[in-house]
């Protein structure tokens, strides 16, 4: 069954990626323009209908896929770029120097994404970018923790000792030994964080701290659809479905990777 999880995840993600790639070059209509009557139901020529503003929902969904991937990629890679080196440093250095990144991560951990987003929106104005920045910073502690724990495990391995014994400097140990061996764990963490980032963005949009009207994300569409929840409930179906597919995809991928990579799960060894 473990492969099934992985494959389902990959399939769902592939769908989103496909939409995103298409969205870069082409959408049936402009995603922000008024192109038809307001609040049309699904049909032709507006496949999924139009929203309260008269914009084509299908175009907006395609356009949103691009942004959702962007949010995921930027916020997760941003967090990893800072968190992973800090975590490796913390795991490799003994004594109080190694403690510092861990303690800083603790402090940061107390500032959940939402809090940061509120502050950033106040400081810089709410936008997809400030949301990404907030999500990114809030994700750093997770990477620090996981990288540190994994590094500690790697550092206890014989090959690290062997490398040290042959005089390999710390930086090379980090690059040659630690990083490749903690990469799978980081991969799992990244895919999980990806799903969380997508949901976080939706949540921020709900609070009006996320994307702007001019760059509609699925979260924002959901928020706008909420005003019509009684009269036009299908309005809310599409972005909701899209978010569910994307997050589900990344979560399943994470689970699949974990099962695939965890040597302890190869039974009876």
């Amino acid at each position: 069954m473990k492969r099934a999880t992985l494959h389902t995840g990959l399939t769902l993600i592939a769908v989103i990626v496909l939409l995103a790639v298409v969205g870069i070059f082409w959408t049936p209509y402009s995603p922000t323009a008024m192109v038809g009557d307001r609040l049309l139901g699904p049909g032709w020529p507006h496949l999924l209908g139009t929203d309260g503003f008269g914009a084509d929902i299908f175009s907006r969904i395609i356009n949103g896929a691009k942004i959702v991937l962007l949010v995921g990629i930027v916020s997760v890679s941003g967090a990893a770029l800072v968190g992973v080196p800090a975590g490796i440093f913390a795991g490799m250095k003994r004594g109080w120097v190694g403690e510092i990144p861990a303690r800083l991560a603790d402090i940061l951990y107390g500032f959940p994404a939402l809090l940061l987003a509120i502050l950033f929106a106040a400081a810089l104005g709410g936008s997809t970018w400030t949301a990404m920045l907030a999500i990114s910073i809030a994700t750093i502690p997770a990477f620090v923790r996981i990288a540190r724990a994994a590094t500690l495990q790697v550092m206890a391995q014989g090959y690290v000792e062997a490398a040290r014994l042959s005089g390999t400097p710390g930086r090379s140990v980090a690059v040659r030994h630690v990083l490749p061996n903690i990469a799978p764990v980081l991969g799992v963490q990244a895919s999980v964080s990806f799903g969380i980032a997508i949901l976080a963005e939706a949540g921020l949009s709900y609070l009006g701290l996320g994307s702007r009207a001019s760059e509609p994300t699925w979260g924002r569409m959901l928020r706008e659809a909420q005003d019509y929840i009684f009269s036009e409930p299908v309005q809310a179906l599409w972005p909701g479905l899209a978010i569910a597919v994307a997050t589900m995809g990344f979560n399943l991928l994470g689970d699949g990777l974990r099962d695939l990579l965890d040597p302890r799960l190869r039974e009876l060894r």
Binding site: Q157, G158, A162, S166, P169, S172, R176, P180, N181
Partner: protein, 257 residues
């Protein structure tokens, strides 16, 4: 003339806050080209002693000399000459090879280390050199591109030996090099180790709980019990007529066919 010398060196660990003496102050001298066995029960401090000789644990008291120079207060970056001159083979061949590196890179790693750059006689890690190193331990040069998990346990341990010897050290520590291996392949690894040590006339410290192996490979033996050296001397003398009760118990416990 000694290559390694412990002068009243002891190690105390803090375990769960409580100090624990893993090695009481001991005096040990290893001479160049000498093969010394260290035997004792589990947890008696054998590994600790071996790591102490390589500067991998700091002594809590006493002094450790390598090539006549104290290494105790040297920071890591000034231990290059020590790193260049000493190597180690670990007990567990699985964890001592990085699963994500090819054999080529594993064996080449010591040659790439900056500590060897000062030494004139170091070969560049070319394919020929690496293939030669592999052949030296009886492994086909075609395996250079393989990963450790594609090898058997015995082959892995031979790679570990190749890595330990490629920088042409003067001193080798082998910490239970065969106890994780299947009986059927132990002999091959031990033969290899014997040949290499003889060929390079390097000093060897062999840690083992198997008296037969120590008897076969070493000239001198140290018996360690609960962090103390309780007996030492020539292998034949100590193992044939043990003086200390602990040594006697060890000899008695050894099963033979």
């Amino acid at each position: 003339m000694s290559i390694v010398e412990l002068r009243g060196a002891g190690v105390t660990y803090r375990r769960g806050g409580r100090p624990f003496v893993a090695l009481h102050p001991s005096d040990v001298v290893i001479r160049p080209g000498e093969r010394v066995g260290v035997v004792g029960g589990s947890g008696s401090g054998k590994t600790t002693m071996a790591r102490l000789m390589l500067g991998l644990v700091p002594p809590s008291e006493g002094d450790v000399l390598f090539d006549g120079r104290s290494i105790v207060s040297l920071p890591e970056r000034r231990r290059g000459w020590l790193r260049a001159a000493a190597s180690m083979v670990f007990q567990d061949p699985n964890s001592s090879l990085n699963p994500r590196m090819r054999l080529r890179d594993i064996v080449a790693e010591p040659l790439r280390s900056p500590v060897l750059q000062g030494r004139g006689d170091v070969p560049a890690p070319t394919v020929d050199v690496l293939a030669g190193a592999l052949q030296g331990v009886g492994i086909d040069a075609g395996m250079l591109e393989r990963y450790p998990h594609q090898l058997s346990g015995g082959q892995r341990q031979r790679i570990a030996i190749a890595r330990a010897l490629i920088s042409d050290p003067a001193f080798l520590v082998a910490d239970e090099p065969v106890s994780a291996l299947d009986v059927s392949v132990r002999a091959q690894v031990l033969n290899l180790l014997t040949d290499e040590v003889a060929e390079r006339s390097l000093a060897l410290v062999l840690v083992s709980h198997d008296l037969a192996i120590v008897r076969h490979m070493c000239e001198r033996v140290l018996v360690v019990e609960r962090g103390r050296i309780v007996e030492q001397g020539a292998v034949g003398d100590v193992l044939d007529s043990p003086q200390h009760p602990y040594t006697r118990a060890l000899v008695d416990a050894t099963l033979t066919l």
